[in-house]
């Protein structure tokens, strides 16, 4: 088992704690991987003990023969279901050009730092440049810190261009006055 494999797993931002089980000959091996900063040591120890107890109980008792109940299929409802392209195209299209003022530049700087690519145009779109929803949340947090305007994630998603996000910040800063 190579440690790097686990680092790779845990770099997926959604994964905070993970248990992997292996059969090694007659033994079972359980590996706990976790993001250290998020958990107290005694919590982890307790969770591990609980997991071992569960495995023991299953191995000794009748756990292998019991049929677990499964939930019924969920009704997707009328006109629902999963399909692609549910997100509408941004309604606002901004004129291309360099960031128009200090605020747009500050937004571009935050985008740039999180996306690690040059953000040089006010019409540049956060998701078009490789952003994802987790990075968007981080962008919102960074913007609150850097320029003082809290941008609701919903509004960020509605127009995720440099100019669009700057406009939301400007409106919210105006509201506070």
């Amino acid at each position: 088992v190579i440690a790097a494999d686990y680092f790779h797993q845990l770099r997926t931002p959604q994964v905070a704690i993970e248990v992997r089980c292996f059969e090694l000959g007659p033994e079972m091996v359980a590996v706990f991987s976790l993001v250290e900063e998020l958990f107290e040591t005694d919590q982890v120890t307790a969770a591990f003990a609980e997991f071992v107890a569960l495995v023991d109980a299953l191995a000794d008792g009748s756990g292998w023969d019991r049929m677990p109940g499964l939930p019924d299929a969920v009704d997707p409802g009328s006109g629902g279901g999963l399909r692609l392209g549910l997100l509408p195209e941004p309604a606002v299209r901004h004129r291309e050009g360099p960031p128009a003022d200090d605020l747009e530049q500050a937004v571009a700087d935050v985008f740039e730092e999180l996306l690690e690519v040059p953000v040089l145009d006010r019409a540049a779109d956060f998701f078009g440049l490789g952003g994802d929803s987790l990075l968007a949340v981080r962008a919102v947090v960074r913007l609150a810190k850097e320029v003082g305007g809290s941008v609701p994630v919903r509004e960020f998603l509605a127009d995720s261009t440099v100019a669009g996000v700057a406009a939301v910040v400007r409106a919210r800063l105006g509201d506070q006055r």
Partner: protein
């Protein structure tokens, strides 16, 4: 008379046409191939005659320079030319403009009194040259927090230009992966960018950080807090071909690099087949907060960087001819007037667009 060396080359042809069109005087058109030079001379809009000249023959070179007011050297390779032609021009009492040279030639001439009251302008092409001049439009009257330079595109290399490209390495040219930060070179600060979209570039590109000595001078002259300078390629073929050659060649002498030139030429031809020819110069400024408003982006697009270099050579020649360049040895980026050069480029048919916003 204005003498043009290497006039039948990709740069020299345009330089000769523009110098003729600007009406700077009769031309003496020099090349190794006198037939080609004569054809060019006949096509120009100013009186011109062709002369056979080999730069490696001191007597022929002296004869060419004799009687010239300005000698314009579009011939390379830079590593061979260095200050040879400049000294020949000075000996004939002529001023001098060179497509290449960079610091090596400037240093060779500086010290002592080689120039006297004569003028020499080196690196009067697109890069170095225009790449160090145009960003100055963004720094006028205000210090910048950050200045970015993105220059490149898809252009076909000749074997000679490939060797010149292979030789632009080492501390006299620039430092890969470095940025300029707070008054000095910060090594290993930047990483290559792959498949990025940059304003003005028609396709996603690969941008390799290379802090040229020109960019370092630019940083000092403009007082920019940070400078990032990138060479832009349409694919990774050329960076890979250059890196492979640098890894394989035992040293960085022209003779050892020349056999590898074909690798670089082939990479450029494949890029050209995929993407056609284009050249983009993008400069972006981030002013310090609270400084006076001003432009933050300069964008120049062209099809042919060699022809564009020819235009810059002609503009440098015109500046020398009109007396707007002081005596001494200069680099074009530091001595040409950014506004006058921009105005002239905006009128030139070889410039696709040059916007300042």
């Amino acid at each position: 008379v204005i003498g043009i060396l290497g006039a039948t080359g990709a740069v020299g042809r345009t330089a000769a046409q523009r110098i003729a069109a600007y009406g700077l005087g009769p031309l003496r058109v020099g090349g190794r191939n006198v037939t080609g030079a004569a054809d060019l001379a006949a096509s120009l809009t100013a009186p011109a005659h062709a002369v056979r000249v080999d730069l490696n023959d001191p007597a022929e070179l002296a004869a060419f320079c004799d009687g010239c007011r300005i000698v314009v050297n579009c011939a390379g390779p830079t590593y061979q030319v260095l200050d040879t032609v400049a000294r020949a021009a000075f000996a004939a009492g002529a001023d001098y403009v060179d497509i290449g040279g960079e610091l090596a030639a400037k240093d060779a001439l500086t010290g002592g009194d080689a120039a006297g009251d004569r003028i020499a302008v080196f690196s009067a092409g697109v890069m170095p040259g225009l790449s160090g001049l145009l960003p100055r439009l963004l720094a006028k009257g205000r210090p910048l927090r950050r200045l970015d330079v993105y220059v490149g595109g898809a252009a076909v290399f000749t074997p000679l230009s490939a060797v010149d490209a292979l030789l632009t390495r080492g501390p006299r040219f620039g430092e890969p992966m470095a940025a300029w930060r707070d008054g000095r070179v910060a090594p290993n600060t930047l990483a290559p960018l792959h498949q990025v979209r940059l304003p003005g570039f028609p396709v996603p590109v690969h941008a390799w950080p290379y802090l040229t000595t020109e960019a370092q001078t630019l940083a000092t002259d403009t007082g920019a807090g940070e400078v990032r300078s990138y060479n832009v390629f349409v694919s990774n073929r050329l960076p890979e071909a250059l890196a492979a050659t640098w890894a394989e060649a035992p040293d960085a002498r022209p003779e050892t690099l020349a056999p590898h030139a074909q690798t670089v030429v082939r990479a450029s031809l494949r890029d050209h087949a995929d993407f056609g020819a284009f050249y983009v110069m993008l400069f972006t400024a981030r002013p310090r907060p609270g400084t006076p408003p001003g432009p933050t982006r300069v964008l120049l697009t062209a099809v042919d960087s060699y022809a564009l270099s020819g235009v810059v050579m002609a503009l440098a020649t015109r500046a020398v001819s009109s007396g707007s360049v002081p005596a001494g040895v200069h680099l074009a980026a530091e001595v040409l007037d950014p506004d006058a050069t921009t105005a002239a480029l905006q009128k030139d048919a070889l410039v696709g667009g040059l916007t300042i916003e």
